[in-house]
Amino acid sequence: MLNSFLNISQISMEFPTPTGSFKALDNVDIQIDEGEFVSLIGHSGCGKSTVLNVVAGLYEATEGGVLLAEKEVNEPGPDRAVVFQNHSLLPWLTTYENVELAVKQIFKGKKTKAEMHDWIEHNLKLVHMDHAMDKKPSEISGGMKQRVGIARALAMEPKVLLMDEPFGALDALTRAHMQDTLIEIQARLNNTVIMITHDVDEAVLLSDRIVMMTNGPAATVGQILDIDLPRPRERVSLADDPQYNHLRAEVLKFLYERQHRPEDKVA
């Protein structure tokens, strides 16, 4: 088990508060193989984002740690690119320039100017945003912004792609569209991905495994579900698939029977 690609090893996380420390995570242990797509699902406030931030290196775990390709994670870095929920594009740069900022920083001295240009275009094409390279984020829709955010993350050639509710702020149709794009990209690139989601269908449709988390405080891994649906997956035909519906029901059962939705005191 020690030599899994991404080893989230028994991490606990405590945040200091005025009324003493608050234990958000307790002994979270997840092993992820290279090329695996893992979803983290759980109710709001269960610490999913905290897990992701620890892997990203934005937070430091109080106990335990994260090993990526047998190296300890202790600071943020481009090998763990993050797609934030609110796109977090720099609003004063065009979509091209937003990706360029990342590419210039990471491939400085490794790629020529022309190669960088091609690489930026290539990644924007992957997410079908090559038509809006000169648009500012304020001029494109929410879904488009998120596409550019994904292009920027992919352009970093990360070892792990971390996505924090990437489609949470989008309407249902746009979200379905984005999921299809993500399936398409995943089929081509076979990235290692951790995605946080609230959406049961999204988790089952996209993942190889779903990690279901218990409610906080002191949240931990409640159950891990293998999604052995064959790929390529297609949302319409899966809707009638008994196996798909069984898996979907498993997640729902976990979320609504074993883990009651907490009172909305922890947002």
Binding site: A56, E75, P78, V82, S88, P91, W92, S138
Partner: protein, 343 residues
Amino acid sequence: MSARAETMINNLRSDKLSKLVKSVKSLKDVNWKEKTWSGLRQLFLPVTAICVFLALWAIVASQIQTSLGQLPGPTQVWNQSLTLLDEHNEERAKEAAFYERQEKRNAKKLAANPDAKVKIRTYTGKPTFIDQIGTSIITVVTGFILASIIAIPIGIFCGLSNSIYQALNPLIQTFKPVSPLAWLPIVTMIVSAVYVSDDPAFSKSFLNSAITVMLCCMWPTIINTTVGVNSIDSDLINVGRVLRLNWYTKILKIVLPSSVPMMFAGLRVSLGIGWMVLIAAEMLAQNPGLGKFVWDEFQNGSSNSLARIMVAVFAIGLIGFLLDRFMLVLQRSVSWDRTATIR
């Protein structure tokens, strides 16, 4: 659905349709009419207000007798503004004549004796109203640029580090409300003590005014830059961390552009304050400029003085307005936040 209701709906539909067709047909016409109307209104309202103001002014002025005669109304002020322009042109003509005479004299001298020493004297006529305006603008711009050079970095550091902010905030809050009149004596004493030079590049009075302007107008820029830098979306900072941008790149690519709209809002307030401060400083310190013009006219006490001071008041107001417009254009051009209304 009853047949009647259906016909009603159909009627409504066709009614709407015909209206739509009509409105499309007359779209060009209506647009043009509406534009002209709103344009006229935009012109009409301020012009009316100005007329009312001038009328009230004329009536009130005719009622007030001062030791310098009757309070001047709009007509006298207008006449004085023309006189001031004439005086300026006369002075320029005199100056040109002076240099012409000097050149001729020197040429004659040189023709008689090629080894003769020629002296070139500069014209020493008194500065005109227009000259004073020029001096004031140069001074305020200098003070404002000095203030910005100091205030923007301080603001950035305060915004980035809570400790620096906590350390500097009491000082900033204490110095912010200090009047230019309080700074001026200190600035004057320090400048005369420190700035000792046989061939000064700037006159002391210029430095006094510019430094006073700087001291009074850097605070809004500091505070706004601090707020701008401090309120950067933490996701954007995290993007910088994930990319491992170094400190310098982070400032240049994320912090500065992100705080630019707030920063420019602060700069605009600063320039406005600087302009107000300058007039007061010039008045008190007898530094050349519009303030000195006002003070000189007040001391002069001729029957025209009040009208001439009023010309200065309008000039000060108009220039302040133009400076603000200039900053507004600048602010709009650098603001990436298209949703914000800047006025």
